[in-house]
Amino acid sequence: MANELAELKLHVRTADQTRRAELKLDSSATGGEIIQAAVDNWALPADTDYALVNVTTGKALAPNATLAESGVRPGDELEVQPVLVAG
C-alpha cells in the first residue's frame, strides 16, 4: 500500500516536444488520468485520442494501469502520443 501512495517526480511531454512539464504524481495515478490532465492543461485537440509512452523504458503504458503497475520510476519521461486511426 505504501508503494501505491508513493510520489513520483516525472517529466511529461507532447510528441512534438513543444510542451513539457516536470510533475509530482501519485503512483496510483493512471495513464488515462495523466493524458486527460495533459489535454486539459495544454489545450491539446480534444477530438484526438492519445496514448502514453514511457520513453525512458520504451514501454507503452496501459490506459487503466497505475504508474506503479506500469513500473514507472522517478525521473522517467512520459510522452503523450496521438493514437492515429486514419488510413
Binding site: A15, D16, Q17, G32, I35, D47, T48, D49, Y50, A51, V53, N54, V55, G58, K59, A60, A62, P63, N64, A65, E79, Q81, P82, V83, L84, V85, A86, G87
Partner: protein, 378 residues
C-alpha cells in the same frame, strides 16, 4: 519469374527474396496507406496481395493514393488499386475483394495469409481484424496516420500467440468513438457522421513503408514482441514502444494461449452440445434478442429482427410500425450461456462469423463461415 528483375535485392545479404516471393498478404483498406503498402509489396515482389475495401474512389482520395486516377472516381477502390498495381510486376498476384472485410474475409481464409495489414480509417475495423488475427495466429499490422505523424503497430501473433494485442493499449476514448456509431440500444446509427482526419501523402508513404517492412519481416526474425513505431515526419524523429499484454484486455483476455478453432456450421448441434451448459459464449457479432415497443407494447414485427445479426439493421427499426414513435426497445447481446444459445438456435448456428466459448482449460472458437482444416490455403 525473371530473377534479374530482383538484381539489386540480391545484392543485399539480408534480403529474403524467396520469403518475400512466397508471402501472402491481406491489405484491408485501399486508401492512402493501403495504396502505399500495395505499391511497396508489389515492387518488392511479394507473392500474393489481396486488397479488401468496401468504398468507392472519390476525387479527394487522389492527393494521397498513388495508384488511383481521376478516371477511377466512382469505381470500387479495391478493384481500381489492384488493377493498376498489377502492372508493377506481372509475377505478383493481385486480387481485389469488394465489400466490408467483416463480410468477405472468413477466419479460414485469413489463416491462409502470412500477415494482415489494417490500413482502414476507424477503430472498429482495427479491433475486429486484430481479434481475427489473434484467434488465427496470423501476424497483424495496424498502420495509421494524421497530417504529421505515422504509426505502425506490429502484433506477431504467428510466432507469439500471447503477445500484446491492439486492444491491450487502446485508450478508453477509442471505445467512446466506436460507441458513437451506435445507438444506446446497440444498433448502428443510420446518420452517424464520420470524423474526417487530415492526412497527406507524406505520412501515408512513411506508414506504408514501415508497415510493409514489418509485414515481410525485412531484416528481422519472427516475433520480437508487440510494438509501436511512432514517426514524426516534421521533426524527423521516431520511437519504438513495447506493447505488453494485459490480462484483462477485452480483445484477447478471453482467448487463452491460442484458441482451438473448429468448423461448426454443419454440425452446430454437436459442437454446442459439447460445450458445458453454463459456459460463457461470446458471439463475434451482437444479436437482437428482444423487440417490443415500450410505448404501445406492439411486438408484431419481432420475428423480422429477433435472433438476427444487429449489424444488418440500423436504429431506424426502433421506430414502431404500430404507433409511429421511436420507442421500440431493441435488446442486443453478444454474451450467452452455451445452453441458452443452443435453445435460441436449435437447428442452425447463430448468424455470426464465429463464437468463442470459454472452457475450463482453453478457449474454443466455433467458426460458422467455412470448413476450417487448419491448413494455410496456398
Amino acid at each position: 519469374m525473371r530473377h534479374d528483375r530482383y538484381l539489386r535485392h540480391s545484392l543485399i545479404d539480408w534480403f529474403p527474396q524467396d520469403r518475400v516471393r512466397a508471402a501472402r498478404v491481406a491489405v484491408i483498406g485501399a486508401g492512402a496507406v493501403g495504396n502505399e503498402v500495395v505499391k511497396n509489396l508489389a515492387l518488392l515482389g511479394a507473392g500474393a496481395i489481396d486488397v479488401y475495401d468496401f468504398d468507392r474512389v472519390e476525387l479527394h482520395n487522389l492527393t494521397r493514393a498513388v495508384f488511383l486516377r481521376e478516371s477511377d472516381v466512382g469505381r470500387p477502390k479495391a478493384s481500381a488499386l489492384a488493377a493498376r498495381a498489377g502492372e508493377v510486376d506481372p509475377a505478383v498476384v493481385l486480387r481485389a475483394v469488394e465489400g466490408d472485410f467483416w463480410n468477405t474475409l472468413s477466419l479460414s481464409a485469413l489463416a491462409g495469409y502470412d500477415c494482415a495489414i489494417a490500413a482502414v480509417d476507424n477503430f472498429e475495423a482495427r479491433v475486429r481484424l486484430n481479434r481475427m488475427c489473434r484467434i488465427d495466429g496470423v501476424d497483424f499490422i495496424s498502420a495509421g496516420i494524421d497530417s504529421r505523424h505515422a504509426t505502425v503497430e506490429v502484433f506477431p501473433f504467428a510466432a507469439e500467440a500471447t503477445c500484446g494485442c491492439y486492444e491491450c493499449h487502446l485508450p478508453n476514448s477509442a471505445y467512446k468513438r466506436i460507441a458513437e456509431r451506435y445507438s444506446c440500444g446497440g444498433l448502428r446509427k443510420a446518420a452517424a457522421a464520420e470524423r474526417l482526419v487530415p492526412t497527406t501523402a507524406i505520412t501515408a508513404s512513411i506508414a506504408g513503408a514501415l508497415a510493409t517492412s514489418a509485414a515481410l519481416r525485412l531484416g528481422r526474425d519472427a516475433g520480437g514482441g508487440a510494438r509501436r513505431v511512432f514517426f514524426d515526419t516534421i521533426a524527423g524523429t521516431s520511437s519504438v514502444a513495447a506493447l505488453d499484454r494485459r490480462a484483462e484486455c477485452v480483445g484477447c483476455g478471453d482467448l487463452g494461449d491460442r484458441p482451438r478453432i473448429v468448423p461448426a456450421r454443419a454440425d452446430w448441434n454437436r459442437r454446442i452440445a459439447d460445450v458445458p451448459a453454463d459456459s460463457a459464449v461470446h458471439t463475434s457479432d451482437p444479436i437482437i434478442v428482444g423487440y417490443e415497443c415500450a410505448q404501445c407494447g406492439d411486438a408484431s414485427r419481432a420475428d423480422r429482427y429477433v435472433l438476427r445479426r444487429a449489424l444488418d439493421f440500423d436504429d431506424r427499426i426502433a421506430i414502431c410500425a404500430a404507433c409511429g414513435k421511436a420507442g421500440v426497445r431493441v435488446d442486443v447481446r453478444d454474451e450467452f450461456a452455451a445452453a441458452e444459445l443452443a435453445r435460441l438456435y436449435p437447428e442452425a448456428p447463430p448468424p455470426v462469423k464465429f463464437a468463442i466459448a470459454r472452457l475450463p482449460d482453453e478457449a474454443l472458437c466455433m467458426d460458422f463461415e467455412e470448413k476450417h482444416d487448419g491448413q494455410r490455403a496456398r
